[in-house]
Amino acid sequence: MRAVTHDERAAAGLLAGLVAVLMAVTAFPILYSLWISLFAVNLRRPNRMPFVGLDNYIAVLSSPAFWGSVGRTALFSALAVAAILVIATLVALLLDQEFPGRRILSACLLIPWAIPSVVNGLMWKWIYDSNYGALNGLLLQLGFIGSATIWLGDSNRTLPLIANAFIWKEVPLAAILLLVTLKSIPADLYGAAAVDGAPAWRRFFAITLPALRPGFLLVTLYEAMMAVRHFDLFFLLTEGGPGGASDVVAWRIYVETFRNLSFGTGAAMSYILAIATLLMSYALIRGMARTL
């Protein structure tokens, strides 16, 4: 067996402090939340926290309200990720061209991404307001609508409108990731295709799109994870309403944990969401990796 060198011991010693901090702030809370998901922990009853095994998980998985929120989460995520992929691809293709003002446009593109989530949520709340919102003001002035339209208050529109606010914030990052992928495509390929007389659409479908697959994988994976776990906009815009129309899993976890103070059930829901996210990511990586 190889002896541990002095340098290795010194390195281990130097890293030990960092590892200890990471264990304290990351590993311990994760394991502790797993532990409390096995107990009926409700802070309103601090002296009565019996061990319940998997009862919290069973209760969550047999709740129709939870499955309703799963459906809304899936719909929100599908809408958001699909739109982000399409819009970000178009933006990346635009920024890959040489034209005057491209650098300024690239910088402006980052503004939504740089805006803090809470500010983004409050801004969209103002825009969507049916009484004094900017969206109604604009549409009325342009003559597209005759009277103020109900936006977030219409339960059929709530999820798409929240998804729109989410897309607005997420598109810049996705576009940059795709732009980096676009930049890595060798120019020779386009040159050779042009020599062969391939038109632009043919070059796009035969060269650009296949070459973007790694970027698509990365963006789909990242944005799907962000969408599934998204909370801020649901909290700021609708608080799960109207009538439960935006009651997604992340919102349900918040209500259960911090409003109802039922930490046991809340932790169980969080673990179910984490496992679902993990499985979804694994399936995406497996599915899309085959095409790379």
Binding site: V41, R44, G243, F258
Partner: protein, 435 residues
């Protein structure tokens, strides 16, 4: 049979907190201040009043505050961690859970404090009582008020504000027919903490209740429950179209902004918002908003809902030699300081916050302050008709979540009024049974 293990989280947290605080224990004991926690409101006023108390009594006070949005959770974490708290601000909605957990101690034994009950609005006193014991003195209070834009009513040729909910509809239809507003009634029915206050005000004014004296759900009862109030809301949106369906995405702040922009004829808002509405610096409709008594339903009165926040004491604060100092501090804030209601008048003057001491409505300074933007006698009359929320219970939060969703669905016509109230009642009964 082996018993299931019980998670000793409190012990673990206490041990952790004790270990972390060991180096400071000696220093802390030397001063031994009264631990006083509030949310981050009226900070300058509280600090100044604490300084006055320390100067007067020589007793040190360790004042701390944290944002209201996380205050409840912060306090619960402090209680379970064994933090040195003696007095704190408490919302009426949290009383059952705080009292049942043993985090608050009753003040009934201290006549110096309970003497103020006689000069305090009844609903304020009742809001500090849980299972027959009183847990504090009023910090501030307010009630849901019915406000109208007199300018819009005048333009519509309406001589007097509505006295009943039927008149609200007829007047709103007149305003609508004259093209003054698409939706003359603006109420906030989004899922936020204000929603239950709006709803409770309407239920009480239509002569309804959510629960009976035994605590059983009566909200679904067509005669004594909340049917009339929810039916009015659903009809206002779906039939008369005087209230926007967007009300289910409208919060209290949006109601205020809409009214300030002159885009509302009738609103339900906390009474203290009248000051903002009639302030030219903050409202385009300044000078036009007036208060009238809450409209009555067919079997109702002009009742409304009142809420309050109070000074609560912890068992630590009322233990042994600490009690005397804490009682003095609680009276200094919740009662008289140097023979005057100093704190109540300060937060009214500086922040517009309401008071529970009814005799203050006769105080010349208070009348001058309130009279600058409203009818003082009417404010007092409406406060006398305010009632505490009857739904405050250990399961209030869970019930309110399900109840709010059901009401929103009924308002926009996704489900019937009866179905919404049945859901509301069944949720209440199940939670009550589970304890």
């Amino acid at each position: 049979m082996r018993s299931r293990p019980t998670l000793c989280r409190r012990a673990a947290l206490s041990a952790g907190a004790a270990a972390l605080s060991l180096p400071f224990v000696r220093g802390a004991r030397a001063a031994d201040p009264i631990g006083y926690a509030t949310w981050s409101a009226a900070v300058a006023q509280v600090k100044a009043h604490v300084a006055g108390f320390e100067k007067q009594t020589g007793l040190p006070v360790a004042y701390s505050n944290s944002p209201f949005a996380q205050y409840r959770e912060t306090m619960i974490a402090k209680f379970t961690g064994g933090a040195p708290l003696d007095m704190l601000w408490v919302s009426d909605a949290w009383l059952p859970e705080f009292a049942m957990a043993g985090w608050l101690a009753p003040i009934d034994a201290y006549k110096q404090l309970t003497a103020y009950d006689a000069v305090t609005s009844d609903f304020c006193v009742q809001s500090t009582v849980f299972e027959g014991k009183q847990y504090g003195l009023t910090y501030y209070t307010d009630y849901m008020s019915f406000l109208y834009n007199a300018d819009i009513l005048a333009k519509a040729g309406i001589p007097a504000p509505p006295a009943t909910w039927d008149e609200v509809v007829s007047q709103a239809l007149t305003i609508k027919s004259k093209g003054l507003l698409d939706y003359p009634v603006v109420f906030g029915m989004t899922q936020e903490s204000w929603m239950i206050e709006f709803i409770s005000a309407m239920v009480y004014s239509t002569g309804g209740r959510f629960i009976d004296d035994a605590g059983n759900a009566t909200m679904q009862d067509p005669k004594t429950g909340a049917v009339a109030a929810l039916t009015w809301l659903a009809d206002a949106v779906q039939t008369h179209k005087v209230l926007s369906p967007g009300c289910v995405a409208t919060g209290e702040l949006e109601v205020l902004k809409t009214a300030s922009a002159g885009r509302a004829a009738f609103v339900l808002l906390p009474k203290y918002r009248l000051k903002v509405l009639n302030d030219p610096a903050q409202s385009q409709a300044a000078g036009h908003f007036k208060q009238s008594l809450m409209p009555a339903g067919n079997r109702g009165s002009h009742s409304t809902v009142g809420w309050m926040r109070f000074f609560g004491a912890t068992p630590r604060g009322l233990s042994g030699g600490r009690a005397e100092g804490l009682v003095m501090l609680m009276e200094w804030f919740g009662g008289k300081a140097d023979g005057e209601y100093v704190f109540q008048k300060t937060i009214l003057k500086d922040l517009g916050l309401g008071f529970g001491i009814t005799e203050l409505y006769k105080d010349p300074e208070v009348r001058a302050d309130l009279g600058a933007y409203g009818d003082v006698d009417l404010m007092a009359r409406q406060q006398a008709l305010a009632r505490k929320k009857d739904t405050i219970s250990p399961w209030f939060g869970e019930w309110n979540d399900a109840h709010g969703t059901a009401w929103q669905q009924a308002i926009v016509g996704k489900i019937s009024v009866e179905a919404a109230l049945r859901t509301s009642a069944e949720t209440w009964t199940a939670l009550k049974k589970a304890g």
